[in-house]
C-alpha cells in the first residue's frame, strides 16, 4: 500500500470511529461528523490539485493567495454584521498584515522566494489574521453595544470620540490576541504545532523544523496584532461621525 493510500485509509478509519462513537452515545453528531469529514476530504483533494497546478505554473500563486484572502475577508466580514462595510474592512484588515509579512519573510530569505514556499506561508498568516480579525471584531461590536452607556458618559464628560472608544478597543484587541499568545507560550510544551510536525514528518531536521516554526509563530503574533489593530482602526473610522459623535452599531446575537 502506498503512503498516500495508507494515510487516506487511516483518516477514514478515524472518521468511522468518531461516527460510530457518536451513534453509540446518541450525541446526534454522527451525520455532522460524517459530512464534515467528507467535506474536508474533498476540500483537501481540491486544494492539493490546485497547489500542484501552482507548483507547475508559479504565476498562479498570486491567484491562489488572492482567493485565500478574498475567502478570509468574506468569512470574517460575515461574522461582523452590524459594522458598515464589514466585508471590505475585514478584507483589508486581513490582507495588509498577512501579505506584508509574507513578502517580508520571502524577501529576507527566511523562506525560498518560490510558489512552493510562498503559498503555504501566506496561507498560515492569512489564517491567523482571519482568526484575529473575527475575534477582535466580534468582541469590539459586542463591547460597543454592551458599553454604549459608558461610551456616551465619556463623551458627555468631554472625551473625544476616540478617547471614549479606547477602553472597548483595547479590550477587543487584547481578546483577539489571546489565542496566538497562548499558542506561542505553550509551543513545544503542550502542543507540537503543525509547521513543526509537518517538517519533521517530511524529513527535515528537528533544528530546521524548530527554526521554521519559530519564525512562523512570531510572524503570526505580529500579523494577528496588526490585523486586530487595523480592524479596530477601520471600525472606529466607520463609527465616528463629525462632531465627536459615535454611531453605535446594532448587533444581533
Amino acid at each position: 500500500m502506498s503512503a498516500i493510500l495508507a494515510k487516506i485509509v487511516a483518516a477514514a478509519g478515524f472518521a468511522g470511529v468518531a461516527v460510530a462513537l457518536a451513534v453509540r452515545m446518541r450525541l446526534g453528531l454522527a451525520r455532522e461528523i460524517a459530512l464534515a469529514s467528507l467535506r474536508a476530504g474533498v476540500q483537501l483533494a481540491a486544494v492539493g490539485a490546485a497547489i500542484a497546478l501552482v507548483f507547475r505554473y508559479p504565476a498562479l500563486a498570486f491567484v491562489f493567495v488572492g482567493v485565500m484572502v478574498l475567502t478570509a475577508g468574506l468569512t470574517a466580514g460575515g461574522r461582523l454584521r452590524g459594522l458598515p462595510g464589514a466585508r471590505r474592512r475585514a478584507l483589508v484588515a486581513i490582507a495588509v498584515p498577512a501579505l506584508v509579512a509574507t513578502g517580508a519573510l520571502l524577501l529576507v530569505g527566511a523562506f525560498a522566494l518560490s510558489a512552493r514556499a510562498g503559498v503555504p506561508t501566506a496561507g498560515i498568516l492569512i489564517g491567523g489574521a482571519l482568526a484575529a480579525t473575527t475575534l477582535t471584531g466580534r468582541r469590539l461590536l459586542e463591547s460597543l453595544v454592551d458599553e454604549a452607556g459608558e461610551i456616551e458618559a465619556r463623551l458627555c464628560l468631554g472625551d473625544d470620540a476616540r478617547g471614549a472608544l479606547a477602553p472597548a478597543v483595547r479590550r477587543a484587541v487584547t481578546t483577539g490576541l489571546i489565542p496566538v499568545i497562548d499558542q506561542t507560550r505553550s509551543v513545544g510544551l503542550v502542543t507540537l504545532p503543525g509547521t513543526f510536525v509537518g517538517l519533521v514528518l517530511g524529513g527535515a531536521s528537528a533544528a530546521q523544523a524548530a527554526a521554521t516554526q519559530l519564525v512562523v509563530l512570531l510572524a503570526l503574533v505580529a500579523v494577528e496584532l496588526g490585523a486586530g489593530l487595523l480592524l479596530a482602526e477601520l471600525t472606529q473610522r466607520a463609527l465616528i461621525e463629525p462632531g465627536e459623535r459615535v454611531a453605535l452599531p446594532h448587533v444581533d446575537r
Partner: protein, 209 residues
C-alpha cells in the same frame, strides 16, 4: 463653578432629529436661562432625552437652531461644549474606579477642595470620594453623576429624569442640590414627567410639541 453674567444661557428652536431614517423629534425647542431651574415636561417617549442629547450634539439635528449665549453650538468644539453644558443621563453610568476617579476623569488639575465642593453641591459627603463608584445605589449614582458634571465647571446643566427610580428622600436631595446650583447662577434644565418634582423645585416649565 464659573461666574455667570446676564447672558441668555442655552436656547433651542424648531429642532428636528432623524434617527435611522425615522423622524423622532420635530419642531422641538427649549430655553434654559441662567439662574433658573427650567422643567422640560412631557410624557415618556415624547423626545425629551433626544432633545437633551441634541443640545450637546450627541445626536445630529437636521433642522433648527441651538445656541449657547447666542453662539451656535455647532461653532463650538464638541468637547468644550459638553464641558460647558453638562448632561446627566437618566441611568448614569459610572466609570471604573472610585467616586474621586470619576470626578477627576478628564480634569487633571482638579484639586481636593474643588472635588469636595462638587461632592457637597451634589449632597454627597467627602467620605464618599473613596467608594467604588460601580457599587453605589441608584440615588448615589445620580448624585455622583451630578458632581462629576460639576467638576467640568459647567455653565448649563441638563438632567434627564433625575428622580426616576429614586425614593422621595433621594429626590429631595437632588432638588436641594439643583436649587443651590441655581443660586450660584447655573442654567439648569430638568427633563421630567414627575409633576411633583416640577411643582417643588422648578422655576419655570416648558413642554414639547
Amino acid at each position: 463653578m464659573r461666574a455667570h453674567g446676564t447672558s441668555e444661557g442655552l436656547r433651542a428652536r424648531d429642532v428636528r432629529v432623524t434617527l435611522a431614517g425615522r423622524c423622532v423629534l420635530d419642531g422641538a425647542g427649549v430655553s434654559v436661562p441662567r439662574a433658573q431651574v427650567t422643567a422640560l415636561v412631557a410624557p415618556s417617549g415624547a423626545g425629551k432625552s433626544t432633545l437633551l442629547r441634541a443640545l450637546v450634539r450627541l445626536v445630529a439635528t437636521d433642522r433648527g437652531s441651538i445656541t449657547l449665549d447666542g453662539e451656535d453650538v455647532h461653532a463650538i468644539d464638541p468637547r468644550d461644549l459638553r464641558r460647558r453644558v453638562g448632561l446627566v443621563a437618566q441611568m448614569p453610568v459610572m466609570l471604573p474606579g472610585s467616586v474621586a476617579d470619576n470626578l477627576r476623569h478628564g480634569v487633571d488639575d482638579l484639586g481636593d477642595d474643588e472635588l469636595h465642593a462638587a461632592l457637597d453641591a451634589a449632597s454627597l459627603d467627602a467620605a464618599s470620594a473613596v467608594r467604588v463608584a460601580r457599587e453605589l445605589s441608584g440615588g448615589e449614582r445620580a448624585r455622583v453623576a451630578l458632581a462629576r458634571a460639576l467638576t467640568r465647571r459647567p455653565e448649563v446643566l441638563l438632567l434627564d429624569e433625575p428622580t426616576a427610580a429614586l425614593d422621595a428622600a433621594a429626590a429631595r436631595r437632588i432638588g436641594e442640590s439643583l436649587r443651590g446650583l441655581r443660586d450660584r447662577g447655573l442654567a439648569i434644565c430638568v427633563a421630567t414627567h414627575d409633576a411633583g418634582f416640577v411643582a417643588a423645585w422648578a422655576d419655570r416649565s416648558e413642554g414639547l410639541p
